[in-house]
């Protein structure tokens, strides 16, 4: 049963991810991204990580993708061919992906089994949200703080860039 669900979610994720870059209409691309996020949340549910699934939908579907759609609709780029058929960049991106696939296929079997055996604790028993909170604020406190600092810097950077434009138009 769980194999079946995993197959469905993984297949849909792969298909919709391809559609995101393959579709010509950017609004349809954004929508297939929405479907993909949904299926990623579904994958989290099959792993008993309900909190992550809910946060996935709230943050990615509810906030980030809405902003994407917002921008896409404002720009109204219906048939913008500038970004299509960029074969050189595609080739450069493909090289590391192919190498990664070869590495995974060659040596992936053994590590998969060992990691499944070495599962630290059963997430079903403990409260999922509680577990995430405790790990985040004890074991991974430093990376967590660093990540929030990086986000803060990005936010300030965005505001500085936007404000510079306003200053120029005023002057």
């Amino acid at each position: 049963m769980s194999q079946l669900f995993f197959g469905y979610f993984a297949g849909m994720i792969a298909m919709t991810s391809i559609l995101v870059v393959a579709l010509r209409n950017p609004v349809y691309s954004a929508l297939s991204l929405l479907v993909m996020f949904f299926h990623v949340a579904g994958l989290f549910i099959t792993l008993h990580a309900e909190f992550l699934a809910a946060v996935q939908i709230i943050v990615y579907c509810g906030a980030i993708l809405v902003l994407y759609l917002f921008v896409v609709m404002l720009l109204n780029v219906k048939q913008d061919d500038r970004y299509h058929s960029q074969w050189r960049i595609a080739a450069i991106v493909c090289v590391p992906l192919v190498i990664e696939a070869i590495v995974l296929l060659a040596g992936g079997g053994g590590t998969m089994v060992s990691s499944r055996n070495a599962e630290p604790h059963d997430p079903v028993v403990t409260d999922n949200t509680l577990a995430i909170g405790q790990t985040l604020f004890s074991t991974y406190l430093f990376p967590f703080e660093v990540a929030s600092l990086v986000l803060l810097v990005a936010m300030i950077g965005a505001i500085v860039l936007a404000k510079r434009d306003i200053g120029e138009s005023d002057a």
Binding site: E50, A63, F70, M73
Partner: protein
């Protein structure tokens, strides 16, 4: 397999019952809104259909059902069709985790049934927030697919508004979650039993009064109701995102808006006002020796709380003028957000010191 079939039948019955209650509530609301607005403006409201106009909702429904369904030329047919459904489903799906009454169980053929909650999942409130945030897609896509500038502007406004105020809704309930220590609506409601002084609106050590005010204002904004109905501002945008919609598709948008109102009212009642708990300890039914029907009293209290909220929606509509767009944004980000964040800090500190003293 029969056990599975029985479970399925029970779940489907519960879902059908909840859907029925919500749709009937929406029917009542459409009439109640016009009546209440009428009385507040010294009019009678609808009086023609049936005695005192009480059959008006059915007349409206029949009219919408038989209207011609127009898809404008140049509209994106697929998205134009999908948008109202995308708006309606998130509005209804959230009701699955609302506790309508006490968490009692009974057994049918060895299967435990919880009659007053369809599903008690441990991330209940996040589930509601997640699907509430998806309602924006219906509005944005409906606005875009109509291929009309008014619709597009309405949709874009709604996107910005829902993102801004959704954040405030999420932050304002964090205080309650800290006090309850759970995300499940059933557990949050159960933690508030025993009199109104245990409701999180008043409960020690950190009364959530400010959070409650932020929640109410933000949820009004999130449901696109007056005074935050900029996505459908008549004087500027004809009718906003549903300008081009007619017939049954328009009815879907309409139904979604009212179902959303009911949903945010239910959540407010469950989180801040003790849900199905009476404002006094226990129930009167249990006192007079009828504890088996105490659920009637409890569900009635839940209905009373929910309907008071819905009345507040109408009251606001009759009283307040629409905000300007920059006022809306400034209010959301510079007033509501700091209050919600401050409430989290104060609540955390209060709970921490309270536990230290114990």
């Amino acid at each position: 397999m029969t056990e599975f079939g029985l479970r399925l039948a029970i779940s489907l019955t519960q879902i059908a019952a909840v859907m029925g209650v919500v749709v009937v509530t929406v029917l009542i609301l459409t009439l109640a809104e016009r009546k209440v607005l009428g009385w507040m403006q010294d009019r009678m409201g609808p009086m023609e259909v049936g005695p005192y106009g009480i059959l008006q909702p059915f007349a409206d429904a029949i009219k919408l059902f038989f209207k011609e369904d127009i898809i404008p030329a140049g509209a994106n047919k697929f998205l134009f069709t999908v948008a109202p459904i995308l708006c309606l489903i998130p509005a209804f799906i959230g009701f699955a985790v609302i506790p309508w009454g006490p968490n009692q169980t009974f057994e049918v053929d060895g299967i435990t049934v919880r009659p007053f909650v369809i599903s008690d999942i441990n991330i209940g409130i996040l589930y509601i927030l997640a699907f509430a945030s998806l309602g924006a897609y219906g509005i944005i896509l409906g606005g875009w697919a109509s291929n009309s500038k008014y619709s597009l502007l309405g949709g874009l406004r709604s996107a910005a508004q829902i993102i801004s105020y959704e954040l405030n809704v999420g932050l304002s309930i964090v205080g309650v979650l800290i006090l309850a220590g759970s995300l499940s609506l059933v557990k949050i409601t159960e933690a508030q039993t025993g009199g109104f002084w245990n409701w999180y609106l008043f409960a020690l050590p950190a009364p959530q009064i400010f959070a409650f005010v932020v929640y109410v204002i933000s949820s009004v904004a999130e449901t696109n109701r007056v005074p935050f109905d900029l996505p459908e501002a008549e004087s500027e945008l004809v009718a906003g995102f549903f300008t081009e919609y007619s017939g049954l598709r328009f009815a879907f948008f309409f139904l979604a808006e009212y179902a959303n109102m009911v949903l945010v009212s239910c959540v407010a009642a469950a989180l801040f006002l003790g849900g199905w708990n009476a404002p006094y300890p226990g129930t009167i039914m249990a006192l007079i020796g009828l504890p088996s029907v105490a659920w009637v009293e409890n569900t009635m209290w839940f209905a009373v709380k929910t309907y008071s909220f819905l009345f507040l929606f109408f009251w606001l509509r009759a009283t307040l003028p629409r905000l300007r767009y920059d006022q809306l944004m400034r209010f959301g980000w510079k007033v509501m957000l700091p209050i919600a964040l401050g409430n989290i800090v104060v609540t955390s500190l209060a709970v921490f010191f309270y536990q230290q003293m114990k």
